[in-house]
């Protein structure tokens, strides 16, 4: 890394000013019961005791292949890719892979996937594509579009969902039912979603029941929203989770992803390393410190992060958004003799501060991690794009359907995306490994 005389001017550190330490977020998310009012009551926990409840957490195993199916909400995860990035970083050793099979407007019947065929072909394709993606964990998020039909749509939804899960049972994947997001109430001229959200509760309940009956896990996005300490259903005028009341904008996607990741067992402790240069002692969380030793003008040690690099929260598109969370990787070094000290990471200068300032602590290590996390996220995006061309190629009419006698010869190109996806996944594994650094603090003469 280049010499950064003033942390304030570093691009990534500027980014990092918006940085949300996930630890902070999750600590708050899990601990704080946000005040709910108005529509939010709709999403309060069921007060009626249930005889059985599905598991609401999902355990990740080595080499798990997570396949998502659903509508636009799932499809658009490929815009920001936060959930995939966070899970990759949270489980760097497990070599998770992901396949996004979301398709706009889809329902449990595969309504959007029929292309030229009728409803049966849409369903057949949904099942076939899902099988071919070889899931070990299958995330199913349906119901958002069915809910437009109101209460009378619930029974066919439940039948259709069971039919889908039956059809996919032979994959032996652990199934996670994910309930749809309630719609965000946005100012006019966008319509008021209250009635839709009331109906959505019926679908949420139906999903929970199906999960209980079938013994699969259930993640409620209604619960997830509620757990985020921003009043979801009545956000302040200058804050938006969604672009259009249905689909998340980057900030919303980030917050939701962090909350869902927690349901998948992702744990992000606050990154904090306190070094006593005089006593040669270290106290750390979220990172391990080793090889601590004195140097002629300071101190040297190795750090290894507990998890992979974590992306910064995106800036909201709206101005004056309240700062939701704070917290950045904090390196504090006390017991230094007076003077100016430069911090080098793997031989590269990072920041120069006074001994007093080091005792207060620096967040200068944020930049490298954010930069790496952004590379990870960009690679995931590229991988998803390649996979999109693989499972939903353009010109299907000519490649595979009724005009394949004309251009079907070009269909040989489509499986050529597979090795490209695999290459990107290799890079993703590398980038999602925890940061290891040799840090050295030396007095500037």
């Amino acid at each position: 890394m280049r010499m950064v005389p003033d942390a304030q001017h570093c691009h990534f550190v500027r980014l990092a000013r918006h940085f949300v330490r996930l630890a902070g977020l999750l600590t708050i998310a899990l601990a704080v019961a946000s005040p709910l009012g108005g529509d939010a009551k709709a999403f309060a926990d069921d007060t009626q005791p249930s005889p059985a409840q599905p598991s609401t957490t999902v355990e990740m195993r080595d080499h798990d292949r997570l396949v998502w199916i659903g509508g636009t909400f799932v499809e658009r995860m490929q815009q920001d890719n936060y959930l995939e990035t966070l899970l990759s970083a949270a489980f760097p050793a497990k070599k998770l892979t992901f396949r996004n099979l979301g398709w706009s407007g889809d329902t449990v019947a595969g309504e959007s996937r029929g292309v030229f065929g009728g409803p049966n072909e849409g369903f057949a394709r949904l099942v076939k594509d899902t099988r071919e993606a070889k899931p070990t964990v299958l995330l199913v998020q349906y119901g958002a579009n069915e809910a437009n039909r109101g209460p009378e749509g619930v029974p066919p939804f439940v039948t259709g969902l069971n039919r889908l899960l039956d059809a996919l049972a032979d994959t032996k994947a652990r199934v996670v039912l994910v309930s749809p997001c309630p719609r965000e109430k946005l100012p006019a001229p966008l319509p008021d979603p209250s009635r839709y959200n009331e109906h959505l509760q019926l679908y949420e309940r139906a999903l929970r029941d199906v999960a209980t009956q079938r013994g699969c896990a259930f993640v409620s996005l209604a619960d997830v929203h509620r757990a985020i300490p921003v009043p979801w259903t009545a956000p302040p005028a200058n804050f938006r989770f969604t672009e259009n009341s249905l689909h998340l904008q980057p900030r919303g996607a980030y917050l939701i992803a962090a909350s869902i990741a927690a349901k998948f067992g992702a744990r992000f402790e606050p990154w904090r390393a306190e070094i006593d240069a005089k006593e040669l002692a270290a106290d750390a969380s979220g990172v391990s410190v080793s090889e601590l030793k004195r140097t002629p003008t300071g101190v040297a040690f190795d750090v290894v992060d507990r998890v992979g690099p974590l992306p910064a929260a995106p800036a909201s598109r709206r101005a004056n958004e309240p700062a939701l969370f704070a917290g950045e990787p904090l390196l504090r070094i006390k017991g230094l003799a007076a003077g100016q000290y430069v911090l080098k990471a793997d031989g590269q200068a990072v920041v120069q501060l006074s001994a007093d300032a080091w005792a207060q602590g620096s967040t200068a290590l944020t930049a490298l991690r954010v930069e790496r996390a952004e590379r990870l996220r960009a690679t995931i995006r590229d991988k998803n794009e390649l996979y999109f061309h693989r499972h939903r190629p353009q010109n299907e009419t000519y490649l595979f359907l009724f005009r394949k006698h004309e251009q079907g010869n070009n269909a040989v190109e489509i499986p050529q995306f597979d090795p490209l996806v695999a290459e990107k996944e290799k890079v993703i594994f590398e980038l999602s490994q925890p940061v290891r650094q040799h840090l050295e603090l030396s007095r500037v003469e």
Binding site: T72, R76, G105, E111, N148, L386, T397, R403, E406
Partner: protein, 1157 residues
């Protein structure tokens, strides 16, 4: 020059050497790769007197422009794609939005900037005020430039879920409407599923979306089209569209209109220029730079034939009539591909030139090396000597300045003024707008249009303004009233009380049909029984084809509201039977049957309607309803003509076959009809006996079927009895049917019996077929003899077995081969058996890469298109039976009007000699197996929930009930293999040369001249000769049962050669005389001039009346179809005949020569 091009040139020089490269074998020699110098291209442009073209922008600044739009400041935004047609594995999507600007206004863009990069085949661009809407395959993006550096820095997915099944069908042709909504088109193969806050909006197949970005409301304006690559609004808010794959020129589009190919459509609206080539882009001209006679005319591109075309569209009834003018640009340059056209800020016409010798990716390999990925041009057409404009709007223009722009003559300026005002603080805009409207000068001749602009501004602002709406709904200008109706429909739910419904009710009674049409469509949204009753009041004034469609559609849309009300008696359409029956007949719901029967029972229907209504009941009703119809048919006292009784009985029988329902009660009562003195009724009753399995009457049917004395059993009765026996089925039917099939006698009866037998005992039917084929009946083509047999699953195998050791004349065997190849199951065994029977082995073309290369080279070097046209027109080749040129000809295959300008020679050679290899979109056949064991093949035309309509190889429409379909699969091309087997190599070369010239130059392009292209000639027969001998030539100008008229078509230049047509020598010593006739469809009455040129040897009848031959006739035509008949004296006349329609000065008449088969 790019390396691509020099490479391609070397290849073309390398010629056959290149063919040694195995991998590229199939792709053919790159012919005619032009020098990409724009000036060389420009020099090929022919433009109208007083106009000129200059290059405004070109590669390398611009590659492969797909769509363009100017912004308020006069900058041109271009969506361009180098990735098209398909991203390669590993290729980075690098497509761009480019902004071009001619800031110094010297007529050339000097500034180019890349606004956005990294896009995947962007096919639509609509600049907004701080960025642009861009179609990026599945998504509609808004790309925003927040820091003003001219590059997008924010990317927002606005809508997603658009289909990508074909990359030249992706969402496209973005247009801002007067109402501030974004209109977007999608093409036939696209299936879109878009989640909005109002639910999932789905559009399968083609159509035009209407989208309001602020509210995310998304609706569909119209359905259908193949490639609707052009859409624009005229100054009064009416929509027009063009299509790049079906040739009906300009299409008038209104809310709820349905066009060619719409998924599930029962009925469609046709375009304004049938038989026209296909078009891309559409701009309606306006502005002070262009001369007065160009104002309001429509420009679109015939990109296949390298032409920029112009149409004059005039009002006609509720819709419009359109006529082509001389081209804006006409070129011979093979890579000139005009695909978009827009008015620019200087008032000139801008043309986007996609520049490519290859235009399509269906028929031509995605990776064909001739595909151009690097060039592109923008051309500018100006009127010489007329001042240019500067209509750029400053970003800081005040609200009042913007309001004042609403009165300028340039359509695009007024549009941008509204779009910019939409972005301003509406609290400030509103009061100023009110003041502005109030201050308009009532004496201004354009004041009504200015007020309409104000109404549209309210729409753009999305603020209903009922007072102005009401005033404009009562404007003295019908165009304003029509526009107000549309606005009322948009605001309907937000206007207080019944304001909108009240306006519609008044609109339905308006004196102008377009106002009535808009009102009728507005009512479709209201959703109440009253709305339906109101809409049907449109029947109190005359309907035309657009209004008729609009009303029919409204009746269907409102069915859930009115039909229950009619059934429970709460609605009777004011007692108006016309209204009620129109509504009932519009919907395909069994629910209409009871009310219709009630009308008949109460004797409320006029007599001439009863028939149609009963037929509808027969097609929709349940057992009880059918029983009631049967009782009426059998009731001797009922006031029903014989023909009606017969057709109703036939309809009842047909319903049983199709829907598997039959009348209630004792069906033996059909005995009454079997005893009818009318043979037609008895024949229909015999079919009913078969349908209802009334075995008691089997003896009677056998007797009729085998009766050879025509006085005892006329032909139609025998046929009915044969059908009846087939329906009864069983072993007992086989013997009499086989007896007929094998007996000497009328071939038609034998063929009928074979058809009946085919389903009962396929091997016997096959043996009888071979016997009949060998008898060589002159009146029947081999194809029609074997059709029913081949429609059986076991048919092909049985026929192959029966042909073993049989011999057939070679010509019959060829005809038979042709039929079998287009049948559902052309098994190799059967084809071999026919070849063996006809000893055809060794004949025919086998297309190898070497042969293809040789032919391609021959075509270019020695092909003669004149000779080729003669080959094309040869009767035995049957090209015209399936293909039209300029609308005249069969419709089984694509219209070839500009095939030469579209297709490379290698493709044409392949299409002719190996037709199944690549098939034009929309000409893919399907093979349907029915539950009755029938196998039917044809090209799907329409499909509703209940019916699939196919066009078979004989150009017949076959209706198949969806409920009877057991399986359907993809079929092959309906063009038979071996079509060209009878041709010599020289003939193939000439024929391909002719095809390759189609659409180019003047000799082989269908121009603006309105000539009769489809004629009919009187076929020679003893009967016809007899009639003419006993009467006079005048009878040929009328109808007679003995006459058989066969279609003949003009040459591409528009005249009809007469030498080979059948002629009559009516009396000894008379000169041989040929009779031809053609029809004209008049849609607006008035004086018309018909130019016939040289009239030597002609006698003329118009609508049967003898008319003195003159080279030009002026005739006053009423609305409707008119017929011109010519008698041509073959001795006195050698030159071809020609009939051209010309305008009579001052006449408003609109007419077209009838085309088709």
């Amino acid at each position: 020059m790019s390396s691509n091009w020099s490479w391609a040139r070397k290849l073309s020089v390398a010629g056959l050497v290149w063919f040694a490269c195995g991998q590229l074998l199939a792709q053919g020699v790159p012919t005619k790769i032009p020098d990409p110098d724009p000036e060389l291209e420009r020099k090929t442009f022919e433009v109208p007197e007083g106009f000129e073209v200059n290059l405004w922008a070109s590669d390398p600044l611009l590659a492969k422009p797909i769509h363009m739009n100017f912004d308020a400041r006069g900058r041109l935004w271009v969506a361009s794609s180098e990735v098209y047609p398909q991203i390669k594995p590993g290729q980075v999507a690098s497509d761009k939005v480019i902004v071009l600007e001619d800031a110094d206004r010297d007529g050339k863009a000097e500034k180019t900037s890349v606004f956005a990069d990294g896009l995947l085949i962007p096919t639509g661009i609509a600049p907004g005020t701080d960025g642009a809407y861009v179609v990026n395959s599945t998504e509609l993006l808004y790309l925003r430039d927040t820091d003003g550096d001219g590059k997008a820095d924010q990317r927002q997915v606005v809508l997603s879920g658009f289909g990508t099944e074909d990359t030249h069908h992706l969402l496209h042709s973005l247009r801002w409407g007067h109402d501030g909504c974004l209109y977007m088109n999608q093409s036939i193969y696209i299936h879109s599923h878009v989640e909005t806050p109002y639910g999932v909006k789905r559009l399968n197949g083609g159509g035009i979306w209407r989208f309001r970005p602020e509210t995310l409301e998304l609706d569909v304006l119209c359905y259908g089209f193949v490639n609707s690559w052009g859409h624009h609004f005229d100054a009064w808010g009416q929509s027009f569209a063009t299509d790049g794959a079906y040739g009906e020129g300009i299409n008038y589009v209104f809310p709820g209109s349905v066009f060619f190919t719409a998924v599930g459509a029962k009925r469609i609206v046709a375009g304004l220029n049938p038989g026209s080539p296909k078009h891309c882009g559409l701009e309606i001209l306006s502005g002070r730079h262009l001369p007065a006679d160009w104002q309001g005319t429509m420009v679109t591109n015939d990109f296949r034939a390298h032409r920029v075309c112009r149409f004059v569209v005039t009002e006609e009834n509720s819709g419009y009539a359109s006529r082509q003018e001389k081209e804006v640009i006409k070129s011979t340059h093979v890579a000139f591909r005009p695909i978009d056209v827009k008015m620019g800020p200087d008032g000139a016409i801008y043309i986007a030139d996609w520049y490519n010798p290859i235009i399509q990716h269906g028929e031509v390999d995605f990776r064909d090396p001739r595909r151009d990925h690097v060039h592109g041009r923008i051309w500018r057409v100006t009127a010489k000597g007329r001042p240019l404009l500067n209509t750029a709007i400053r970003p800081d223009a005040s609200i009042d300045e913007l309001l004042s722009l609403l009165t300028v003559p340039e359509d695009w300026t007024r549009l941008w003024a509204k779009l910019l005002l939409k972005e301003r603080d509406s609290g400030e805009v509103m009061p100023r707008l009110q003041t502005w409207v109030r201050a308009l000068d009532p004496q201004d001749p354009n004041v009504e249009h200015h007020r309409l602009e104000a109404l549209w501004l309210y729409e753009a602002l999305d603020v209903p303004e009922p007072k102005l709406l009401d005033e404009l709904a009562h404007s003295k200008d019908h165009r304003v009233r029509a526009a107000a109706q549309r606005t009322a429909a948009h605001w309907r739910t937000r206007l207080a009380g019944d304001i909108a419904a009240g306006l519609f009710a008044a609109g339905v009674k308006d004196e102008h049909p377009r106002v009535r049409l808009e009102a009728v469509r507005g009512l479709a949204e209201v959703g109440t029984p009253t709305a339906a009753a109101t809409a049907l009041q449109a029947l109190n004034k005359p309907l035309d084809r657009f209004l008729d469609f609009a009303l029919w559609q409204t009746a269907r849309d409102l069915e859930p509201a009115w039909l229950p009300a009619v059934r429970d008696g709460s609605l009777d359409f004011g007692g108006n039977v016309d209204h009620l029956t129109f509504a009932l007949k519009a919907v395909d719901s069994p629910g209409v049957v009871a009310p219709l029967l009630e009308l008949i029972k109460q004797n409320k229907l006029p007599h001439d309607r009863v028939d149609g209504v009963l037929a509808l009941i027969a097609s929709l009703g349940g057992p009880k309803d059918l029983s009631a119809v049967l009782d009426l048919v059998l009731n001797q006292d009922a006031d029903l003509p014989v023909a009606s009784r017969a057709s109703l009985l036939a309809g009842l029988a047909d319903t049983t076959f199709r829907r598997k329902v039959q009348p209630d009660g004792d069906l033996a009562r059909v005995k009454g009809a079997l005893e009818s003195p009318a043979p037609a009724v008895r024949a229909a009753a015999a079919r009913a006996v078969g349908a209802w399995k009334l075995a008691a009457f089997r003896e009677l049917l056998s007797q009729w079927a085998t009766e050879t004395d025509e006085t005892k059993a006329p032909l139609q009765l025998r046929e009915g009895a044969i059908d009846g026996l087939a329906g009864l089925g069983g072993a007992e039917s086989i013997a009499p049917l086989e007896k007929i099939a094998l007996a000497e006698g009328t071939a038609a009866v034998r063929a009928r019996a074979i058809g009946a037998l085919a389903g009962l005992d396929t091997p016997r039917a096959a043996r009888a077929t071979v016997q009949l084929l060998q008898a060589r009946p002159a009146t029947l083509e081999p194809g029609s003899i074997v059709a029913d047999l081949l429609a059986q699953r076991a048919g092909p195998a049985a026929l192959a077995a029966a042909l073993k050791d049989a011999k057939l004349p070679a010509d019959d065997a060829k005809l038979l081969l042709r039929s079998v190849q287009t049948s559902a199951a052309p098994t190799p065994e059967l084809l071999a058996a026919i070849r063996a029977a006809g000893r055809l082995e060794g004949a025919g073309w086998k297309l190898t890469p070497e042969l293809q290369a040789k032919l391609v080279a021959e075509v270019a070097a020695n092909g003669d298109p004149q000779r080729g046209e003669i080959v094309y027109r040869r009767k035995q080749l049957q090209c015209t039976k399936c293909h039209a040129i300029g609308g005249a000809g069969g419709r089984v295959g694509p219209d070839l009007v500009s095939i030469g300008a579209t297709a490379q020679i290698d493709y044409l050679v392949e299409a002719l000699l190996d037709p199944a290899k690549k098939v034009k979109e929309n000409y893919h056949s399907v093979v349907v197996e029915t539950d009755a064991g029938k196998v039917i093949t044809g090209i799907p035309l329409r499909e509703t929930k209940t019916e699939l309509v196919l066009r078979d190889a004989e150009d017949r429409e076959i209706v198949i009930p969806v409920g009877n379909i057991e399986e359907r699969k993809e079929g092959r091309s309906l063009m038979p293999d071996g079509s060209a087997d009878t041709l010599t190599q020289a003939e193939v070369v000439d024929l391909v040369r002719f095809l390759s010239e189609l659409g180019k130059g003047s000799q082989f392009a269908v121009g603006q001249a309105r000539v009769a292209r489809r004629w009919q000639t009187l076929a020679w027969s003893k009967e016809a000769q007899f009639v003419l001998n006993r009467t006079s030539y005048d009878s040929a100008a009328g109808e007679h049962d003995a006459f058989v008229w066969e279609p003949v078509y003009s040459r591409v230049v528009g005249d009809l050669p007469i030498a080979d047509l059948p002629s009559f020598v009516v009396h000894q010593g008379n000169n041989p005389t040929t009779f031809v006739r053609t029809q004209l469809e008049v849609t607006t009455a008035g004086l018309v001039r018909l130019a016939l040129g040289d009239v030597a040897g002609l006698a003329i009848w118009i609508d049967g009346k003898p008319t003195p031959p003159q080279s030009e006739l002026t005739i006053d035509f009423a609305v409707g179809r008119h017929q011109v008949t010519l008698a041509v004296d073959q001795k006195l006349r050698k030159p071809p005949v020609r009939l051209e329609i010309l305008d009579a000065p001052g006449s408003k008449a609109q007419l077209q020569a009838v085309t088709g088969k």
